[in-house]
């Protein structure tokens, strides 16, 4: 993209990928602002995500990227702005929130599997109590997704008996069992030993190939290069730069982005 000399570009950084037509967007975020006490964590975020789009969000710690995706399924409440997911606006209405959460799966940094339930039961809980699926059908779906994450043989073990990588794959299967339209990943590999990161990323790459809408907060730049449609760089609670991965890594526009990439790609 050419640098324009006029400087009259709108402040909201124009996406190199053509702007998404509003009606196509499955997630619309307008002027999202959030405060923790008096601390302004998210500042006027704007983002539209198309159906099937894969977005990677990166940035230094404390930049608000986790808070941002936690706002999308309302694990965090926002104070100003508008989030619309799959046509439903997120407000304080409990029914709306539950409806959105049914369609949005989430994978956490620390897995958060339910330790008192077996792997399979972890996968059955929500389909049975939220989707009201008959048990046998739920077991079928559960086993199907456990196969997709390649651990059907562990179905009757408990989370405490699995390795970190296996637990995270169960967590992905658990979210998929709800057959969500969107998946949020909150640093899914940060708590893993290096040799386990690949098995989780492989599952995520495969999922991306299936056409799932994905928002990933991650520092796995290799994953971003191969999978992402757009990479978003956040700093200080703002979106600093949005670019296709090719441009993002080879030709970052913002000095702050360059600095971050230098630090993270040094090794």
């Amino acid at each position: 993209m050419q640098q324009t000399e006029t400087g009259l570009e709108p402040e909201s950084v124009a996406s190199p990928v053509e702007s998404v037509a509003r009606d196509e967007a499955i997630i619309q975020v307008d002027d999202l602002n959030k405060w923790f006490g008096d601390f302004h964590v998210l500042k006027s975020l704007n983002l539209d995500v198309r159906k099937g789009e894969r977005i990677v969000i990166c940035g230094p710690s404390g930049s608000g990227k986790s808070t941002f995706i936690r706002c999308i399924n309302h694990l965090e409440a926002h104070q100003r702005g508008r989030i619309t997911v799959d046509g439903v606006e997120l407000n304080e209405d409990v029914k709306n929130i539950e409806a959105i959460r049914r369609e949005v799966g989430m994978v956490f940094q620390h897995f958060n599997l339910f330790p008192h339930l077996s792997v399979l039961e972890n996968c059955l809980l929500a389909p049975i109590w939220v989707r009201k699926t008959p048990r046998n059908e739920a077991i079928e779906t559960g086993m199907h997704y456990l196969e997709r994450v390649r651990i059907p043989d562990q179905a009757h073990k408990y989370p405490g008996q699995l390795s970190g990588g296996q637990q995270q794959r169960v967590a992905i299967a658990r979210a998929l069992c709800m057959q969500p339209k969107i998946m949020l990943f909150d640093e899914p590999t940060s708590a893993l030993d290096p040799e386990m990161i690949k098995e989780v990323l492989d599952v995520m790459v495969e999922l991306a190939g299936s056409g799932m809408t994905m928002l990933c907060v991650t520092h796995e730049m290799g994953f971003a290069k191969t999978v992402a449609d757009r990479v978003i760089f956040m700093d200080g609670g703002e979106i600093v730069e949005t670019a296709a991965p090719g441009d993002f890594f080879t030709n970052p526009q913002q000095p702050r982005t360059r600095e971050f990439l230098e630090q993270i790609l040094q090794h």
């Binding site: 409990v94 956490f108 620390h110 958060n112 009201k132 008959p134 048990r135 059908e137 408990y158 967590a171």
Partner: protein, 395 residues
């Protein structure tokens, strides 16, 4: 160079440096010490009892007691045996412990949850309750309720009148007593039918959910049915229950059920004291469930109350139940403070009056302690089984 023909074996240490020899000697000494102490105590006791002319054995249990007891759950009068006084005391201990455990659990859970309330005022009031009641000796609390509160109530003639049906005076609390007339069995049957229906319904609802996925609201139906069916029976049979309402006659009340002030004070003190500990246990149990668990469950779309029932409570209970049972045991043991205000529990009746009258110290102390030991050991066994059943499976 000559080779040592002996096979290579670690050299034997000197016996007094050999840890195995040391350990065996030490243990033999310990057994000898315990045996010597036991023998001395036994010998002294036997010779002391001989010289005081106390006969040994449990024959005294069949002798006539000859003293009255102010409250008894089983038939009792002066002409009955010392053995019966043991049972009266035991029943009274079990009564006050059972009621105390029930009430302390309710109060403790309410306060423990209030402690975590998002409402600042509620949380602070709960905290103040906990810090006040757990830091004041139980015996003092018993005295306070017995002497300063219940004892300060007016006499029966000026009793505090609660809507003409219940009265509070320094003689205790008098409540109306239900009198069941012929036909009352219909109500009982109603209750049994309601309970049976709920059980059947629960099983059916579970099977149906497994088969079709539809959730059946058993709890609201139970809430309606369990009081509803007996009430229906009551109305259909034209009210076969009448109330024996207490009335003032002479210097005391006639009719109704009287809860003696000793029971009231002991129960109140045991409940409030133990509840302050239970509240802390409940609070820390709930806090021990990682926040990520709630978040993960919410993110799956589960409504808040299902998150509580399916994810938080099962995990919190594992942490809560073991210390909770030890509080139940403490409450049971603490109920023996009844002796300080004269509630006729096991220690007061049996280890007190019966022991004073018979002088059979060894037998009576042994029987009393055996009761508490049995309760404790039984609970410990149950607790170990429970812990083994719920232990989280780890690598």
């Amino acid at each position: 160079m000559t080779t040592d023909p002996r096979p290579l074996r670690p050299g034997r240490p000197k016996p007094w440096n050999d840890p195995r020899v040391r350990s065996v000697v030490f243990q033999i000494l310990a057994i000898a010490g315990v045996a010597w102490v036991g023998y001395t105590l036994f010998h002294n006791t036997v010779s002391n009892m001989e010289s005081r002319g106390i006969s040994t054995g449990f024959g005294f249990l069949n002798e006539t007691a000859g003293f009255g007891i102010i409250m008894s759950l089983i038939p009792y009068n002066e002409t009955m045996s010392y053995g019966q006084t043991f049972l009266v005391g035991l029943m009274n201990t079990l009564l006050v412990s059972g009621l105390g455990i029930l009430l302390a659990t309710i109060v403790g859970f309410v306060v423990g949850i209030a402690r975590l309330s998002s409402n600042w005022l509620v949380a602070k009031v709960a905290l103040a309750y906990i810090e006040v009641f757990r830091n004041i000796p139980l015996l003092l609390q018993i005295f306070f309720w017995y002497f300063a509160v219940l004892g300060a109530l007016p006499g029966p003639r000026q009793a505090v009148n609660v809507g003409d049906i219940a009265f509070m005076s320094n003689r205790g609390i008098v409540l109306p007593k239900p009198v069941f007339e012929p036909g009352a069995w219909v109500m009982g049957t109603g209750l049994v039918i309601a309970l049976a229906t709920i059980v059947v319904l629960a099983i059916w609802a579970r099977r149906r959910q497994a088969a079709t996925g539809r959730i059946f609201p058993v709890l609201p139906i139970a809430v309606v049915l369990i009081p509803g069916l007996p009430l229906l029976g009551y109305l259909l049979t034209g009210g076969p229950v009448s109330w024996d309402v207490p009335s003032l006659g002479g210097f005391n009340f006639r009719g109704g059920i009287t809860a003696i002030p000793e029971l009231g004070a002991l129960l109140l003190a045991l409940t409030l004291y133990t509840a302050s500990f239970i509240a802390e246990i409940v609070r820390s149990g709930i806090v021990s469930v990682d926040k990520g668990q709630t978040e993960a469950a919410l993110a799956l779309g589960l409504p808040a109350r299902r998150v509580l029932r399916l994810v938080v409570i099962p995990q919190a209970l594992r942490v809560i139940i073991p210390p909770l049972t030890s509080q139940y045991l403490n409450l049971t043991k603490n109920s023996s403070l009844a002796v300080a205000i004269g509630y006729p529990d096991l220690v007061n009746v049996f280890m007190g009056t019966t022991l004073n009258q018979t002088g059979q110290a060894v037998e009576i102390v042994a029987m009393t302690m055996a009761v508490y030991l049995t309760i404790s050991l039984a609970i410990s066994v149950l607790m170990n089984l429970y812990n083994r059943a719920v232990a989280l499976k780890e690598r």
